[in-house]
């Protein structure tokens, strides 16, 4: 494996970076990484709570983005601290059971941050989106480019919200041409410590799959994900960017590599069971998840490679194996 790329942020003159959602994996890890650099930037953290390991190392402001007046608070903070860039990572890692609250945070909250950043004269806004905004469809081309239409799964409210946010973001970027507005669309993130609804599905030694379907999947390693965030913070990279590890693997091969057994079930049965199981607990119908294991939604990462010089260190297979091995060491099957 190649040597870790040296983070160059800070050297390029970003003195103050604001991170919303610093309690999430992405927010906290990015903050830690930025602080590890040679000339670390000052980090302004906004969230409901601060992870303990960041205490005293960042300037923390307690902000609830679902408040109706959150935009002026955030604008005030950004202006007072003199932030040059905002990383917006305040999203639920899992699809939240409360659809209304989720929409309030992921779309309206993000809108607050966007408007606040514009009002405070912030130069750069980076939003962590997801490749799930393209949606799994039988008529998707093999590889989805950034220009492809966003057709999130109608039952995946988190992906739907993210797609709506991306539309708002594009309008916002058109109105604020002096700002660099970046949206990152990672495919499923895998790694030793990243936890999400997706990784939990694959943790067990037996994985439910759809009988007769063997989709090609792509994963992005968590380190590459953080690398990508650092890269776009350091360089001006307007627009959406697809991110995924090199190579694709069929689900059956992934399971065999991870020594996991696949439990294939016919999809109508699985959808029915999923609906019963989930209506009680989450608002997100997991048939949306199953469709992601049924139809292709691979992303084309050539743009990030050619224009951003983003070379993932981990291939899809390596990202998957690092996930599997780490979970095994921690005692999962």
């Amino acid at each position: 494996m190649a040597a870790r790329r040296e983070p160059e942020l800070g050297r390029r003159g970003l003195a103050t970076v604001a991170i919303t959602g610093v309690g999430t994996f992405t927010g906290a890890r990015t903050a830690e990484r930025l602080l590890e650099g040679d000339s670390p930037p000052r980090i302004v953290a906004l969230d409901l709570r601060l992870p303990r390991r960041l205490e005293g190392r960042v300037r923390f402001h307690r902000v609830d983005l679902t408040e109706p007046t959150a935009d002026s608070w955030v604008a005030e903070i950004l202006e007072k601290e003199g932030c040059e860039a905002v990383l917006h990572a305040a999203f639920f890692t899992d699809p939240h059971p409360d659809v209304e609250l989720s929409h309030e945070l992921e779309v309206v909250g993000a809108l607050h941050v966007m408007n606040a950043a514009a009002a405070a004269g912030v130069r750069k806004l980076v939003v962590t989106s997801s490749a799930q905004v393209y949606g799994p469809h039988p008529d998707n081309p093999g590889y989805l480019s950034e220009d492809h239409e966003l057709r999130p799964h109608p039952h995946a409210h988190a992906a739907r919200d993210r797609a709506e946010l991306e539309r708002l973001l594009r309008l916002f970027a058109q109105r604020h041409r002096d700002m660099v507005v970046t949206a990152l669309r990672p495919s499923w993130i895998m790694g030793p410590s990243y936890e999400s609804a997706v990784t939990r599905r694959f943790e067990s030694g037996r994985v439910l799959t759809l009988l007769g379907y063997d989709p090609l999947l792509q994963f992005l390693h968590e380190d590459d994900w953080l690398d990508a965030i650092e890269t776009v913070l350091e360089r001006d990279a307007p627009g959406p960017w697809n991110l995924a590890g090199d190579g694709v693997l069929p689900l059956s091969t992934l399971l065999r590599l991870g020594d996991k057994r696949s439990v294939p079930l016919p999809h109508p049965l699985l959808y029915g069971a999923a609906r019963l199981d989930s209506l009680a607990r989450t608002g997100d119908l997991p048939e949306a998840f199953w469709d992601h294991l049924r139809f292709g939604w691979l992303v084309d990462t050539r743009r990030a490679r050619e224009q951003l010089g983003f070379e993932p260190l981990y291939t899809t297979q390596e990202a998957w194996m690092s996930f599997v091995v780490a979970r095994k060491l921690r005692g999962y099957r």
Partner: protein, 363 residues
Amino acid sequence: MSREVPPEVLAELRASVRSLRRELEQRFGVGEPAAEGLAAPDAPTGAEPASDEELLAFEAEPPPPAAPGWLGWLRAELGARLEQIDVVQIYESLRERVALPSSGDISAEVDDFGLDARYLALARRWLDWLYDTWWRVDVSGIEGVPDAPRVLFVSNSAGILPWDALMIAHAVERTHSSHRRPRPLVSDWIATLPFSQSRLARLGAVRACAENAERLLAANEWVIAFPEGQKGALKPFRERYRLQRFARGGFVSLAVRLRAVLVPVAVIGSEEVHPILFEPRIVRRLIGVPLPVTPTFPLLGPLGVVPLPSRWRIRFGEPIWFDDVAPERAADPLYVNRTRERVRGAIQTLLDEELPRRRSVFV
């Protein structure tokens, strides 16, 4: 990540099979008598071991009290025949001959569209058999196919399942001097059909759409397109070898833009593998998947999916070069339309020339 069985394990397996067989022989007396002469524990407690015939009869069925002469003769005859049969050998040779690529025979890496080299290598035996024995494919005109970096084959399609796609790819790989295997583009409903989709992808098939074709050609892959699409594959038998309308001609603009050589291909015989009597629209509307009725299909159940053994001819036509065509013409609808019809005419001519040449459909 090779899954080859090491020779020593294989030897051990063989030895254990052999010892099992020896035990079977001892107990039931099939085959040659045991070398060691050990008395089997379950042997009838008689003074002398029972004769072969008696034991065999016991194994087959409880002997009737008084067997007529012909039954005894049959039993003796059968026993003698059975003695000559080596079960292990048959089993091994069957396994070797069948060698269906199973889920255990996949490699840990696939290409961008899911082509699995190991799976393909194992499936090749089957493809060879289909090509040589089942359909006895006769290839002509392959020498006219240039060894260009980008070649786009355009063919008629028939026969519901993409057998023709697999056979054209196989024909090119086996007969062309470059031994390149083109990637067939298969229609949507096949590409998302459960079970077939993952296998076809492992064999190199790709869902037909402009983006996929462009990506493959840009990576200097050879591609087979079926511009008739679903209309061709599902047309009724009475319209056999009549080309349906070609789609918008995306393949022409692609070839012009990427400087690919276009090769018309005519496949004879694919219409007869699954002759479609009719295809009820209502079913397609209800379940979203076309379910055509063939003389064998719903009638014989799963057996009806077995393609009929017609004799095939694959004829490659004169290649069409676009090197002296300005790339801007790719966006000229009139030019694209004209070229598309020219290619369609070329394939229809090839079909009309080849059809009278075959003496019989199946022989």
